[in-house]
């Protein structure tokens, strides 16, 4: 089987627990960044190592993308609105992400969400990361 192409493969890493966002952590000041980078934006140090980020967090803020972005967006010709938010990963960092939910009535600050790998609409075989609301039964 051919492995799906992640649109954003540099920002995802496979772990025994499944795919995770690939962040980094500074050995000097413990600052966590996403995506991973080789130097620390907080203390300017370079003792920085990769760190898979937590898969669950809460929605810190959100909106909905209602129009098709210009290139290099790879969403294909048929545009479907998608949610966008910053997800607060406890003790780590807030990450910007697509949301699987695009209905403003079902999005709110504080909503519990978890990481998913989703197909990019209109681009066969391409995937990206997103966060999905945690269903009642999954808690």
């Amino acid at each position: 089987m051919t492995k799906a192409e992640h649109v954003d493969h540099p920002v995802l890493v496979e772990t025994p627990d499944g795919p995770r966002l690939r962040g980094s952590e500074c050995a000097e000041c413990s600052t966590v960044t996403f995506p991973a980078q080789a130097s620390c934006p907080a203390c300017t140090g370079v003792a920085v190592a990769d760190r898979p980020l937590g898969a669950r967090g809460t929605l810190w803020t959100w909106t909905v993308q209602t129009f098709g972005p210009k290139a290099p967006y790879r969403g294909g010709a048929e545009f479907e609105p998608f949610g966008v938010g910053y997800v607060e990963l406890p003790g780590e960092v807030r990450v910007e992400a697509r949301l699987t939910e695009a209905d403003p009535r079902r999005l709110r600050i504080g909503l519990e969400v978890e990481l998913r790998v989703i197909d990019v609409p209109g681009v066969p075989g391409a995937t990206t990361y997103a966060f999905a609301p945690v269903e009642e039964g999954d808690r």
């Binding site: 960044t33 959100w62 909106t63 209602t66 129009f67 967006y73 998608f82 960092v93 697509r98």
Partner: protein, 383 residues
């Protein structure tokens, strides 16, 4: 005679769509207007700086204005392009490098949201491919959180946009000159909730130029000089929540706008309480509300009262974006920050016509904010 650099000439083209002129030509046209306003000619200019985002390098204007050999520095700092150019010219005049400097900002953008490449902003291509390289998303998410944190009703956004169109109607060089009611703003299509179509500015075209004089030099034009008390440009500090940030730390620090504004007031020896007329970045209505507080002109959460009481109107306590701001003028990025300075200069001269702030304003303030976390602020006073 003060030790300040002064603004002795200003020029502006109409903002909007220009099919008959390139962005560069608009910039050169504004320079000619500013030179005439100052009563000098291009060969009197000893230094120039300027820039655009989408319309090329400013120094190309020498072929239109005259090949005098003038040193002309190109600036490319997004929304702070004008502010950076102004800060550069200010420093060189204080150093005594020239008697007169010209600062020029211009642009000409295609319709629709800005067409931005992640690699130009230090980001991986994945960021754009995933659909995150879209400026309205950031502004929507920032105001979404801000309204919740400070208990400001969404209705304030429609009121701010309506004020912009009302002021634009009084401004001969504005793009949007038809008043729009708050009800019509609130009924326009949702773009990125909570922001709606009529709450946003549009990328457009226009040119602005300023003539600055070194301390002690009086221009022959005879216009009352406006003192440039300070101009400060900053990039973001760690913890500032900014456009095109794949992540932000859990601990939020002072925004780049707050840092730049505080430094600008400190350098001027004045405070927000001294300001009589204000131009803050309003690329959408939420930005005006946020920037008023970030720059220290009001308390966080006070904005709903300021909007409701009319304090931000031309006749109010804190007249804000008196020329209609970005919402009514559009945003030719390179020109936008200098448009604000132009507006404060004409307000302080008392020549703003129908939109003149009453009571002879003496102190003005300008602020721009842009991706990926830059801000430029100025403090200007009458002589």
């Amino acid at each position: 005679m003060s030790g300040d650099v002064s603004i002795v000439g200003v020029g502006i083209t109409p903002f909007g769509r220009h099919r008959d002129a390139t962005g560069l030509e608009l910039g050169a046209r504004a320079v000619r207007l500013a030179l005439a306003d100052a009563g000098i000619v291009w060969s009197d200019v000893g230094f120039a700086a300027g820039g655009s985002m989408s319309a090329g390098g400013a120094d190309a204007a020498v072929s239109l204005l005259g090949l005098t050999g003038v040193p002309f520095i190109n600036v490319f700092n997004g929304c702070a392009t004008g502010g950076s150019a102004l800060a550069t010219a200010h420093a060189l005049l204080l150093a005594g490098e020239a008697d007169y400097a010209v600062v020029m900002g211009f642009d000409q953008h295609p319709a629709g949201a800005f067409d931005l490449q992640p690699e130009d902003w230090g980001l991986g291509s994945w960021y754009g491919e995933a659909g995150l390289m879209v400026a309205p998303q950031f502004f929507a998410m920032k105001i979404q959180r801000y309204l919740a944190d400070h208990d400001i009703p969404e209705a304030a956004l429609a009121d701010v946009a309506s004020k912009a169109y009302r002021n634009g109607a009084l401004n001969p060089h504005a793009w949007r000159r038809t008043p729009v009611s708050a009800e019509d703003v609130a009924a326009s299509p949702s773009v990125c909730p909570p922001l709606r179509q009529l709450m946003f500015c549009s990328p457009g075209a226009g040119g602005v130029a300023l003539v600055l004089a070194r301390p002690g030099v009086r221009a022959p034009g005879g216009r009352p000089p406006v003192r440039l008390r300070s101009v400060v440009f900053r990039t973001r500090s760690f913890g500032s929540f900014d456009a095109f940030s794949p992540s932000v730390p859990l601990e939020v620090s002072a925004s780049v706008s707050a840092v730049a504004a505080e430094a600008a007031f400190a350098a001027a020896g004045l405070g927000p309480e001294d300001v009589d007329v204000v131009q803050v970045q309003d690329t959408e209505a939420g930005a005006e509300l946020i920037h008023l507080a970030e720059t220290g002109l009001c308390a966080h959460g006070e904005q709903a009262d300021l909007v409701a009481s009319g304090a931000l109107e031309i006749g109010g306590r804190l007249p804000t974006n008196t020329d209609g701001g970005c919402i009514a003028n559009g945003e030719p990025v390179g020109a936008s920050g200098l448009r604000q300075v132009h507006e404060v200069v004409v307000q302080l001269r008392g020549t703003a016509g129908e939109r003149q702030v009453p009571g002879s304003p003496r102190t003005g303030f300008t602020h721009v904010y842009g991706a990926p976390g830059v801000s430029a602020c100025t403090v200007l006073t009458t002589s």
